[in-house]
């Protein structure tokens, strides 16, 4: 029984990829149920290789945020739980573990909508991210200084109440706060949400820089498929609680379906206007 299972897994495409690269995160066939009745994820599997940037794309309500919360142990506040499958991070089983423990293991999430501590100053926001660390104040202080090198904009507003800073600055604060936990893997939930295109570019540049310089593995959830595929090495596309497509970011960028549905480009190569896809959308809604 065990042997046949192992043999079965041996031949699966996941394991072949796993052999090539060391996976830092392994999500295996998880099902997430809210309030014991609403099933949001239906057998989601994904793998994140160490040191890479992986994007998880999809439309509203596809279950991207739920997947991220399942990994970071933050389903409880919403009354959700992983009912099937398992999640392994750095070889340890973290299925349904508490958020605090998962941060300690080295996986930190930047929540959707930034969620900075509005009534704390910028420097307090960043400092509090180190709460789970036990490696001495010297290292923490070094990392704290490093944050201002990653995000020079924040160096000028250290004493400002975080709630009064701009959307882009708040996103930077939230990322810096998460990085203060010295994570092995950083998860970002919609970092582009509500930001001007130029700022989105700046934030994504920062993310790439952190990946290159610090070596932090990054898992980013995005609706903005275009920019996410630009920085990602590998990507998954979700729809109604399932992974429907996955592949190297380069391949996905050239995939005709992805082009049409997520990048707004038709087969002819020109941009499609909203007028043309409207009928399709309406039909889809009635189905």
């Amino acid at each position: 029984m065990d042997i046949s299972d192992a043999q079965l897994n041996e031949s699966s495409p996941f394991n072949e990829r796993a052999k090539l690269q060391e996976n830092i995160l392994e999500v295996n066939n998880i099902e997430v149920v809210y309030n014991d009745i609403v099933q949001v994820l239906r057998g989601v599997s994904l793998h994140v290789a160490k040191g890479t940037i992986v994007a998880l794309l999809g439309t509203n309500g596809a279950g991207k945020t739920t997947a991220l919360r399942a990994i970071s142990g933050l389903l409880k506040p919403e009354n959700g739980a992983i009912k099937e499958g398992y999640i392994k991070f750095l070889g340890k089983d973290i299925t349904n573990k508490l958020g605090t423990e998962i941060v300690r293991h080295g996986a930190v999430m930047v929540p959707e909508g930034r969620r900075v501590f509005k009534h704390l100053t910028v420097s307090e926001n960043i400092k509090v991210g180190s709460i789970t660390r036990r490696d001495g104040s010297e290292k923490i202080n070094d990392d704290y200084q490093l944050m201002y090198r990653h995000f020079p904009r924040l160096a000028n507003i250290t004493n400002r109440m975080a709630g009064y800073s701009s959307g882009g600055e708040q996103q930077m604060i939230a990322i810096a706060r998460a990085l203060m936990a010295a994570p092995e893997m950083l998860m970002l939930d919609e970092p582009s949400l509500g930001l001007a295109p130029l700022l989105v570019k700046e934030i994504f540049d920062n993310i790439v820089q952190i990946n290159r310089v610090v070596g932090t593995t990054i898992l980013v959830v995005e609706q903005n498929a275009k920019i996410a595929l630009e920085i990602a090495d590998y990507a998954y596309i979700m729809e109604s609680g399932r992974i429907v497509l996955e592949g190297a970011a380069e391949d996905l960028k050239n995939n005709p379906d992805v082009k049409e549905f997520y990048l707004g480009v038709t087969k002819g190569g020109g941009r499609k206007s909203f007028k043309d896809i409207k009928s399709y959308k309406r039909r889809k809604r009635w189905m």
Binding site: S72, L74, P77, L98, G99, T100, I102, V103, R104, V108, M109, V110, P111, R115, V116, F117, K118, H119, L120, E124, N125, K127, V128, G129, S130, I131, T132, M161, G163, Y164, G167, A174, R177, A178, M180, A181
Partner: protein, 315 residues
């Protein structure tokens, strides 16, 4: 003290007496006010992190005072040690209260948690009535010289002086803790955004437990100091839990500085009303009423209290 002496040397005769009377009232206002502030601190700590008004706070204050008395008089432990010991015991006591009764209520509506604290107050009442403290009055043996310190015509007793000093040390310590230490900042973070706190790995139940425990610690200190000044009467002590509510509201519910300033304002108003208005123009008991009238007026002008935080709204 020097300022008082300076002013007093300028005066003579009737004016001298009037001035020393004035300073006497200022001093006792500050003493009463700082004790209010210390008693209010516990309420602020709990409210700050969990948005819960703790109606059992007065009982915890009383328990702290009684534990100190029991340790000092019955177990004859030196007062310095028993003071610290009782703070530690109440720290653990309040932490276990949170652990046993309130932990399972996290995520429930805040009003249910408040109802639980009211129930808790009754339970603690019942428990304390089982001990001799519930019905009898005790008073601490005097630890300090009996004769008050006299500056000109103004007197302050050693007990009051030491009480005020301890109060300010504790309040300073707590302010530092919340401003500078990562754990203190994390407690403020939880009051700001619980979900975000969890995402950076702050243990929200842990923070609630710690808030209750530190509130217990400050309540024990307050109870001890009050008990030393007024004597150990259960009714007086546990009513402090309610008396300080206006102080907390005036200060803005979640600000330590607010509690201190509001406490001293309330103490001064009370003493001045008692010292100058009572007995004149056929008025009596204004000391009890005037603070509330002023409280209402200030809240009309500043609805968030003196130092309360405004919600930051950005779109």
């Amino acid at each position: 003290m020097k300022i008082i002496r300076f002013f007093l040397t300028k005066c003579s005769g009737d004016r001298y007496i009037a001035m020393s009377y004035f300073f006497q009232i200022v001093i006792s206002g500050v003493v009463v006010g700082s004790i209010y502030a210390l008693a209010a601190l516990g309420l602020v700590l709990v409210y700050k992190s969990s948005r819960v008004a703790n109606f059992a706070h007065g009982q915890i204050i009383a328990a702290g005072a009684f534990i100190t008395y029991a340790l000092t008089v019955w177990a004859s432990i030196p007062v310095y040690i028993s003071f610290v010991l009782s703070m530690l015991i109440t720290f653990c006591l309040a932490w276990s209260v949170e652990r046993i009764f309130l932990r399972r209520l996290i995520g429930e509506p805040i009003i249910s948690v408040i109802m639980v604290t009211i129930g808790l107050a009754s339970i603690l009442d019942g428990l304390i009535y089982l001990t001799p403290f519930g019905t009898e009055n005790f008073s601490f043996p005097s630890f300090f010289p009996q004769e008050p310190i006299m500056v000109g015509g103004v007197s302050i007793s050693w007990t009051q002086l030491v009480g005020v000093i301890i109060t300010f040390i504790l309040i300073g310590g707590f302010s530092w803790f919340f401003k500078k230490s990562t754990v203190g900042i994390s407690m403020r973070a939880v009051s700001d955004d619980q979900f975000a706190s969890m995402s950076v790995g702050i243990s929200v139940p842990g923070v609630f437990g710690l808030a209750w425990a530190t509130a217990g610690l400050s309540a024990a200190a307050a109870g001890c100091i009050i008990g030393n000044i007024t004597g150990l009467n259960f009714d007086t002590l546990h009513s402090f839990g309610i008396v300080v509510f206006p102080v907390v509201i005036l200060g803005g519910l979640d600000s330590i500085l607010g509690a201190v300033v509001a406490g001293i304002i309330m103490g001064l108003i009370q003493q001045f009303a008692g010292g100058y208005i009572d007995g004149n123009w056929g008025l009596n008991g204004t000391g009890e009423v005037l603070p509330y009238i002023i409280l209402l007026i200030i809240l009309l002008i500043k609805p968030h209290g003196l130092f309360g935080i405004h919600e930051i709204e950005r779109v």
